[in-house]
């Protein structure tokens, strides 16, 4: 009998083209490659310089999301991009995809959206697949039991040219979540709680497998939020064993297996789980049942506290002290009630339909505080259409929020949506780094519920005031 192995081992072993030797790492096959406009032009240029072709355009899918504006004009079926550099990047992606025969869901496509929203939505993200993208939040796809991780532009070139990567095997880490989340506490709070516990570098070198009784209670969209921010704990990625919830989500999606192939696939996918007795390099347990809504106060995602908490003393930690200076917050100061300028609901962390429903449940029949700018940005064109069919857009608009086109928007300041220097935001995105949402901008990371409630009061607010 073979020794028990983890989910990571099973997916890894199934993709070894050439095993590691004393002098070379393993060659690992990549089942699927997602690409976008910002991290690919230099990779395509490398292929051209070397006279190489894209090896498997059929295993590559492109969209545009990062540099694309979310308030563009549609003119005569086309889209007008005002920023010349962004327009050039978009044009380069269109040209490169056309030349290579890669399917591109551009701004004129009803399948366009944030790359980590459309992959699962289209059924491209299958359990057991290896998936990469030139974007750190590729970890999102781990929610399906895929081994999915972000790569840099050089490796984008490697995958385009060879459909493989040279990889050292990451270490195995298990995070076991026990118990059911209380009312008003979301998957976003769970991941912010975990990162506050283990730190922004707590999982460096590891793949985190999320396990435990909490996971079974989470929807696929909640699991995606959890895996999305594994990288914010320093993890190479996050991964969750597929189950009936996974299969129910995937069934019938455009790129999911159909008919007899579906049944075969599900039978295969059911084997993708960590064996009893398998050993992890590191194990962490976390009680989800006592968790409160979380909010960050600093400039690293690990700087988070329960929403009723206060800004901690930095002690002798110069990094923490620098963060408080940047945020202009004092130790001991409560976070709840802190005035804010902007609320951003969106990003690959929290822009799916269930996130928008949560935000709408709070905003319905209420108004965004005067002087607060609230931006709701759906993760994809499909999410936008669904939200509009449910009347969520009307709820947001009537509340005084802006309802935008799909894209990364104010998660990262490179598409026109950004904070002004000194402004404070409550944001459902993933990074509170200095200037991440705009030079001099200050970010409080939180859940869609917290963001919506904070928009109404114009201050950091515990959404449980509104959610009875």
């Amino acid at each position: 009998m073979s020794s028990p192995t983890t989910l990571l081992d099973k997916v890894w072993d199934a993709h070894v083209v050439s095993p590691a030797t004393a002098s070379t790492p393993a060659t690992i096959y990549i089942d699927f490659h997602l690409i976008h406009e910002v991290t690919t032009p230099q990779a395509f240029a490398t292929l051209k310089e070397r006279g190489l072709k894209v090896r498997r355009p059929d295993r590559t899918l492109a969209t545009m999301d990062h540099a694309t504006p979310t308030d563009f004009e549609r003119k005569g079926g086309g889209v007008v991009i005002r920023d010349a550099d962004a327009a050039a990047q978009i044009r380069a992606l269109e040209d490169n995809c056309r030349e290579a025969g890669i399917t591109l869901y551009g701004l004129d496509s009803d399948r366009q959206g944030i790359v980590h929203v459309i992959g699962p939505e289209l059924g491209v993200t299958h359990p057991g697949r290896t998936i990469v993208c030139g974007d750190s939040h590729t970890s999102t796809h781990g929610a399906f039991g895929a081994l999915a991780f972000g790569i840099g532009t050089s490796e984008v070139g490697h995958v385009l040219a060879s459909q493989c990567l040279l990889l050292e095997k990451p270490k195995r880490m298990s995070v076991t979540f026990n118990g059911r989340l209380s009312k008003g506490v979301t998957a976003k709070d769970l991941i912010l709680g975990l990162i506050a516990k283990i730190g922004a570098g707590g999982a460096v070198g590891h793949v985190i497998e999320y396990r435990g009784s909490t996971i079974a209670t989470l929807s696929m969209e909640e699991r995606m939020t959890l895996c999305n921010m594994a990288v914010e704990a320093g993890g190479r990625t996050g991964i969750i064993a597929p189950d009936d919830t996974t299969f129910a989500y995937l069934k019938g999606r455009p790129f999911a297996p159909q008919g007899a192939a579906w049944d075969e696939a599900v039978a295969r996918w059911r084997e993708l789980r960590t064996d009893e007795g398998a050993v992890f390099d590191r194990e962490v347990t976390f009680d989800a049942s006592t968790l409160e809504p979380m909010v960050t106060y600093g400039t690293s995602p690990g700087m988070g506290v329960p929403i009723g908490g206060v800004v901690p003393e930095p002690g002798g930690d110069e990094s923490a002290a620098k963060a408080l200076r940047y945020m202009n917050l004092a130790p001991g100061e409560p976070l709840r009630g802190r005035p804010i300028d902007v609320v951003f609901i969106g990003s690959c962390t929290n822009s799916r339909i269930s996130d928008l429903r949560l935000a709408a449940s709070v905003l319905k029949g209420r108004k965004v505080a005067s002087g607060v700018k609230a931006l709701v940005v759906p993760g994809s064109h499909a999410v936008k259409k669904q939200a509009e069919a449910e009347g969520l857009d009307a709820i947001f608009r009537e509340a005084g929020a802006e309802w935008r086109e799909a894209g990364c928007s104010m998660c990262l300041a490179m598409n026109g949506d950004r904070l002004q220097p000194g402004q404070y935001s409550v944001s459902t995105s993933n990074r509170n780094f200095e200037g991440r949402q705009g030079q001099g901008g200050r970010t409080f990371l939180a859940s869609p519920l917290t963001a919506a409630a904070s928009a109404i009061n114009g201050r950091i607010t515990d959404a449980r005031e509104f959610v009875k």
Partner: protein, 190 residues
Amino acid sequence: MNEPLRRLESTFVVLPNENIDTDQICPARFLTTTSRQGFASALFADWRFDKAGALRPDFPMNRPEAKGARILVTGRNFGCGSSREHAVWALRENGIQAVIATAVADIFKRNALKNGLVPVVIDGDSHASLVAHPTATVLVDLERLLVSWPGGEAKFAIEPFARHCLMEGVDELGYLLKEEPAIAAFESAG
């Protein structure tokens, strides 16, 4: 292709903070480009320059003694966050060839190795000793996998193949392309 790199001898600059993310190393507004070049002024732009675009004299890399330093010594988990390889390109354009820290973020490390930037991960005590010698010249020796300075030394590890690529100035793509028969066999077996 990168220049072969076997030994690097240089003074260093200390950025003591932990979790320095790639948004600081190269802010997102510099990413709307299709080139691998042009990141010289992007490096630590919001820390290095004031609002008027003038160098901030108090930023460690701007001090006179930092001139010519090709090694950056930083706090834990350097390069966390976004996968942007532009952060590595920006460091390289500014002459940085090694980063010494007690931990370097995973994706950043992989990007660094592909661009002739050596990620040197050393233990906490050695790191503290190095930081206590701010004017020292450091030797990063890839043959011996040893970093040394007057009064101290520390071992570090680099994946054997990545080390080979750094020392010979070759990249991984050539090796991967030679894997073609094995890749084709893997595909037909699947």
